[in-house]
């Protein structure tokens, strides 16, 4: 009998009742062998109930921790329950579950620790504002320089991680601006990552956590956080068992 790898799809959701149901449904459609964990980050709407009715496991945080804390809780679950691969997919529907297969393929074939879905490799027709593009390109250059590897989409939250990365994230996960900071963290722990071209769709509902006015402020803060990260002591990774 073939040993199946245990796969967990982590969906962080904060007040996403309009989209979370559809996201969970689609994941089960395209990835029937996986289990879906919705991390309800202290939502005040029906996110938790809708996710549960669609058959997802729901982890209810007692209050809003922010995306970093919510994702970490998801990874802690994945670690405790012995999953081999964890995939994170946003609850707002901007990540297409159809594309998860591509992440998994790269993760397994290249034997890397994390596969990052990128909107900017190849032309898969992702449209966003110029402002956002310029911001992401600046991040991309700064981060690529730090990790000595081309990272085109460091803010992408569409990722697949292996057991080793899950273990790291369960104990250490950046809280403030997790996506770009995780890239630095992986590099500092000598884990390997690779980008995979994926298509991302428009958000089903809700607003991006970054509005136009705040984007410059956000950029400065993230760059500062990245800069500080480079001086932090990297966490020790012992061998598991």
């Amino acid at each position: 009998m073939e040993t199946e790898e245990k796969i967990l799809v982590i969906v962080p959701a904060y007040n996403e009742e309009g989209s979370v149901g559809k996201v969970v449904e689609e994941i089960y459609t395209y990835l029937p062998q996986a289990e879906v964990l919705v991390v309800n980050d202290g939502s005040t709407d029906l996110t938790s109930e809708i996710a549960k009715s669609k058959g997802a496991i729901v982890l209810n945080l007692p209050f809003n921790l922010g995306i970093g804390g919510a994702m970490q809780a998801g990874y802690q679950y994945a670690y405790a329950k012995g999953y081999d691969i964890a995939i994170q997919v946003d609850g707002d529907g901007q990540h297409d579950p159809k594309e998860i297969g591509k992440l998994l393929k790269v993760l397994e074939e290249k034997k890397i620790d994390m596969a990052i879905g990128s909107r900017f490799i190849g032309d898969l027709g992702y449209k966003s504002s110029t402002m956002r593009r310029v911001g992401i390109s600046i991040f991309s250059q700064v981060i690529s320089m730090f990790v000595r590897q081309k990272i085109t989409d460091p803010t992408s939250g569409f990722r697949a991680s292996n057991r080793k990365a899950i273990r790291l994230f369960a104990s250490d996960y950046p809280q403030d601006y997790p996506e770009p900071e995780v890239v630095i963290l992986l590099h500092r722990c000598h884990l390997e990552m690779e980008e995979v071209p994926v298509g991302m769709s428009e958000r089903y509902s809700g607003e991006s956590s970054i509005t136009k006015i705040k984007s410059i402020y956000y950029m400065v803060k993230v760059l500062l956080a990245i800069f500080v990260d480079c001086f932090k002591k990297p966490p020790l990774l012992e061998q598991e068992r």
Binding site: V58, N60, L61, P62, F63, A73, A80
Partner: protein
């Protein structure tokens, strides 16, 4: 003029000292957080009552500022230390709070799962 300021500043620092002491006694303030406050009270008191002694003279000589400004500056410096100390404490508490919330959520999920399994087991057995 100077004597008035001495009395006001001295009285304020004594009040600060007494309040801190009372709060520790009633266990409403933990000792580790109170040490800086007590120290602030004592230093400001010494400075305001005997400005001609010790550090204050030294301080006036090296900075070239006068009595009142020196007292204010020292008090300000201590407040800065206290605020900084608070930032450190708040950061630590925020981290612990996050850890607790995560562990609580994981345990709750585990508990619900076990409960469901237990209930279905109960119903299944004759």
């Amino acid at each position: 003029m100077l004597i008035k300021i001495k009395i006001i500043v001295g009285a304020l620092s004594i009040i600060l000292f007494l309040i801190t002491f009372e709060l520790i006694r009633k266990k409403r303030l933990r000792e580790e957080y109170a040490i800086l406050w007590l120290f602030t009270g004592v230093v400001v008191l010494v400075f305001s009552l005997w400005p001609e002694y010790l550090l204050s003279q030294f301080f006036v000589r090296i900075t070239g500022i006068f009595y009142l400004s020196a007292v204010v500056l020292i008090a300000f410096f201590f407040l800065l230390l206290i605020v900084f100390h608070f930032s450190v404490v708040i950061s630590k508490l925020t981290g612990q709070n996050k850890d607790l919330a995560q562990r609580y959520a994981l345990l709750e999920l585990e508990f619900e799962t076990l409960k469901k399994r237990y209930v279905s087991h109960e119903m299944g057995s004759p």
